[in-house]
């Protein structure tokens, strides 16, 4: 495997490691963006109003049991004829990635807002803040740690599933594993696996650092 990594032709070019990492990150980033766009507002709404708690808990459980590989394959066959070119597998893959990432973001946001100290909310109301100001100035910052933990599991889920989507020809590091399997090249598979694992760990670390930087020190008692 060291031999595989030390061959410079494996790193550069349109199917080199660098290009695959970038592809992996782009697909994951796009999926995470849309998942946040859907999950954050719903989580904030449910946490702020307390309405629909049972619904999102049920939804999260139901989505967890759906096999991601089956979903991707199903959507590729259904959508394949609709799109031409690469969109035929990119769009279904992204849809599945978003679908898997919404529940953890949604429940993390909801749990974070619901767990905010009611005294803090009362104090803000006493200071004359309006409901929307309370939501964005008090509840959202206080909920950040749990929002980040939801974001973290969503991101890991996306990176992991984007690897699997290589089976329906999506680009990214999964290519090395799937193509390696097809060519019976175990070292390429193992190299792909190591790279995916490293990417997941690094992204996890980056989110951890981001959460340290943005969460108010008053919440973590690091004053």
């Amino acid at each position: 495997m060291i031999a595989w990594f030390s061959d410079p032709t494996h790193w550069t070019g349109s199917d080199g490691v660098f290009a695959l990492v970038i592809q992996h990150l782009i697909y994951s980033g796009v999926a995470l963006f849309f998942a946040c766009l859907i999950g954050l507002p719903i989580g904030l709404y449910v946490g702020h109003t307390g309405r629909g708690v049972v619904l999102i808990a049920g939804l999260a459980n139901a989505l967890r049991s759906l096999p991601s590989l089956g979903l991707i394959v199903l959507l590729v066959i259904l959508f394949g004829p609709v799109f031409t070119s690469d969109m035929a597998f990119i769009v279904p893959s992204i849809i599945v990635l978003v679908l898997l990432a919404v529940p953890p973001i949604m429940s993390g946001t909801y749990a974070g807002v619901a767990a905010v100290d009611p005294a803090a909310v009362d104090a803000a109301r006493g200071m004359g803040k309006r409901p929307l100001d309370i939501l964005f100035d008090v509840e959202l910052p206080c909920a950040l740690p749990l929002i980040f933990s939801g974001l973290r599991s969503a991101t890991l889920q996306i990176i992991s599933t984007a690897t699997i989507a290589a089976y329906v020809s999506l680009g990214g590091l999964g290519r090395l594993i799937i193509d390696g399997r097809a060519q019976n090249d175990y070292y390429q598979m193992a190299a792909g696996a190591v790279l995916v694992g490293a990417l997941a760990l690094l992204v996890d670390l980056a989110i951890g650092i981001l959460s340290r930087l943005t969460v108010s020190p008053g919440l973590t008692r690091r004053l």
Partner: protein
């Protein structure tokens, strides 16, 4: 849906279903058996807690397909050996359940432990008779997550060729044929619901004092 195809293939589908069942359940059982002592250790000792939970979090970060591919290097097995899948899923279940067991034991009220001490329970009997039964609701909640996500992760192993329902997905894509894919998804969801219900039922039977629990 081509029901005639399902009927013709029902023998093979049943066989894949049983494989899927085994690959989902066995790792969770092994994971729980390992997590009980480790979670207990993590809950008691602060040093173990941060190291064990940190290591568990790290393992949980590694994508499943990567773990399936890398384990043959570690275990010396062949890539097609179902053992790789069992070990990988055991690792995931263990990583999740260590935290759950430790949280569960943490959730036992200190008053109860003091009462047990006053009644003369020694450490180990107290653990088995008092603390673990009271930790059942929290442990069961973690077990449900572990079992349901396992059912979904097992199907990924189709990409390296291990027999289970995921093979219906790869077959469906190769043939551009929806019936096996839909059948596979439905069976996976059913299996997850079944195992989830089983854990829920067992937990209720074990905690008759809980509201909505079984009659004494």
């Amino acid at each position: 849906m081509r029901f005639d195809w399902l009927y013709r293939e029902s023998g093979r589908i049943a066989e894949l279903f049983l494989w899927h069942l085994g690959l989902s359940v066995i790792p969770v059982v092994i994971g729980l058996l390992l997590a009980l002592p480790l979670g207990w250790l993590a809950q008691r000792a602060g040093f173990f807690r941060s190291t064990l939970l940190g290591a568990a979090g790290l393992l949980y970060t590694i994508p499943s397909l990567a773990l399936f591919v890398l384990l043959p290097l570690v275990l010396g097995t062949r890539i097609l050996d179902p053992m790789n899948v069992v070990v990988a899923l055991t690792v995931y279940a263990l990583a999740l359940l260590v935290r759950t067991v430790s949280d569960g034991l943490e959730s036992v009220p200190p008053d109860v432990i003091q009462a047990a001490n006053a009644m003369g329970y020694r450490r180990l009997p107290r653990l088995f008779v008092v603390e673990l039964p009271l930790a059942v609701p929290v442990i069961a909640a973690g077990l449900r997550v572990a079992v349901v996500s396992n059912v979904s992760i097992v199907s990924v192993a189709a990409l390296i060729g291990t027999p289970q329902l995921g093979l219906l997905f790869t077959q469906g894509l190769q043939l551009r044929f929806l019936t096996p894919i839909i059948a596979g998804i439905v069976l996976c969801v059913l299996l997850a619901a079944l195992l989830d219900g089983l854990v829920l039922f067992a937990a209720k039977r074990m905690t008759p004092w809980q509201p909505g629990g079984a009659e004494r």
